[in-house]
Amino acid sequence: MLDATPKAQTPLVQVRGLKMYFPIYSGLLRRHTGDVKAVDGISFDIMAGETLGLVGESGCGKSTVGRALLRLYEITGGKVVINGIDVASLGPEDLRRARPQMQMVFQDPQASLNPRMSLADIIGEPLDEHTDWDKPKKLARIYELMDAVGLNRRFANRFPHEFSGGQRQRIGIARALALNPRFIVCDEPIAALDVSIQAQVVNLLEDLQEKFGLTYLFISHDLSMVRHIADRVAVMYLGRIAELSPRDALYARPLHPYAEALLSAVPEPDPTLAQSRQRIILQGDVPSPANPPQGCNFCTRCPRAFEMCRQVEPELLQVEPGRFVACHLFPDTKAAGSTGGTEAKEHKQQGVSQ
């Protein structure tokens, strides 16, 4: 396809059939009585230098995906290959050695910075853990990082509470960059910030990506911001990917009914447009991931659901070049040509009902 730019060729991150279940224990004997299926068999690739947007409503499992990729959880099943290493099966010592190449920027800059550590200590902590550099060398690196994220070097000995939300997020980004990672999971990095500050942080993330050749998984519920930053976008619903498409194609013409409803629900800052636009109002709430519906997990709210949706779980299939959709409305057209570097059959979701 035309938008297959040179940077988007080799997958840096390959996720296959990732499952993350959280067990439920109940009763007097605390017996294992079920699972919250936060992530239920999802597969995708992230190309080197690409930003993959991961969107969905709260509770859909998008943050869990981000954490599972970096093995902050012990995953239930599946493979996560980052830069040729299967992170999911590494032993503790090997995992520790693999950590520098994958980092995370957290949502809440307040809670993710230790209030008792100075800014230099926070940014330098990864260096303490993973390098044997002497003090001057570390300090030089800390200053370099502070310059890169636009923090004044004079702030090095200050503490997190002395900074505003936007500045704190810069500290978190500097810490994530300390070890020259290749892959960064940004978990709602702008959700806690004011509108006028959000743009500053997003621009910074884009500059850093260009400068250091970073690959991002950008997790967010802000669909307009994802449209701005992401190259491709995955829409999650209840632990599964509903649609994975190139950005422009998704926003111009969403294929999955959930993606369509989600996009139509975003309020546009334009009064004239707001009146003329047809909104799809979804009825009801998201079902519990501890007890997902039979068949397609969206069938309880889908305006276009039919009999088959309630019985058979749809697989994520390539329905148009580069566009993957898990929906029975789209007939199986695997032969539509392959781009994006992946085979359609590798994107099949692993059904739990089998």
């Binding site: 409503e57 709260s58 505003s164 936007g166 004011d194 509108v195 006028s196 500050i197 959000q198 743009a199 500053q200 997003v202 621009n203 884009e206 519920h221 669909l223 307009s224 911001m225 449209r227 701005h228 422009d248 926003y251 409803a261 989600l262 996009l263 139509s264 629900a265 975003v266 309020p267 546009e268 800052p269 334009d270 009064p271 004239t272 447009l273 707001a274 909104r279 109002i281 979804l282 709430d285």
Partner: protein, 336 residues
Amino acid sequence: MADGAAPVLDVQGLNTVFRTRGGEVHAVNSVSFHLNSGELLGVVGESGSGKSVTMMSLIGLLPSPPADVRAGTVMLGNRDLLKISADELRDVRGAKIGFVFQDPMTSLNPVFTVGNQIMEPLIRHMGMTKKQAAVRAAELLSLVGIPDAAARLKSYPHQFSGGMRQRVMIAIALACDPDVLIADEPTTALDVTIQAQILELIKDLRQKLGMAIVWITHDLGVIAGIADRVMVMYGGQVVEQAPVRELFANPQHPYTRALLKTIPSLTGAREARLSVIEGQPPILAGAPTSCPFHARCAHVNNRCRTENPQRRAIDGRPLGRGHDVACHWTPGDTHA
């Protein structure tokens, strides 16, 4: 909106100061606005811009100390809410003015049933018996779109989802048929598809009940969809006020203009780079002596640093009735 009709709510020159150990924080500075009957006034601003504090000051919800509502009049009908006693004010809250808060998780009491909490204002303000109140509470729940209302009255807040809880909050606020509903970021904690449901509900309720609404939000997209008139706040002051279409089509204040530009569009052209408002919001220590936006403004001049601009009408209509802005600069003006 008839210009001649008396407004339901008329606020003039409201000042609220917080006394802290670090000195006085002037959170609200001479804020004036009015609300016509049946109108939806959107109040936009970032955190710390004073939008919530303004509304809480009106109905005495701020603890004093540290808060101190120093000056101004808040006319609801022919009563000044800042002059009446605490008892009278309690009768106003809930009965005349309903309030919906941002976080439906923490604003409902977890140990009482939802029915109990909807019935409380009915019994307190309307003098209903428990039986009457229960019937009315069930009506209210179905009004806000909760199915099987009579049975759900016996549920506790944790048995409802976020969107449903916000519907319960709206039911409580509407219980006594208030003249004014103040909604403080009511959809901010909700997902977009649930937000869309609540916005539809509000539009629907406005048609049925015709109350006047003040809708506080930081989301210009939400405002564009529901408001009749918009007031933009920054640094504890009203910086611009206009009918909604006028504001989006012809923003005057540099802050409003910059704010509209920083939001990436969902449908329009995708910009290579987001435009940014550099710097941080001001710290509101001491009485204002300069424009609160001067440190971040692209059109700043010396006057902005020494003189806090007054609101001025730009379309010849009385202040607050048309389009007004608090800024020394006029678009097209180059400040030679």
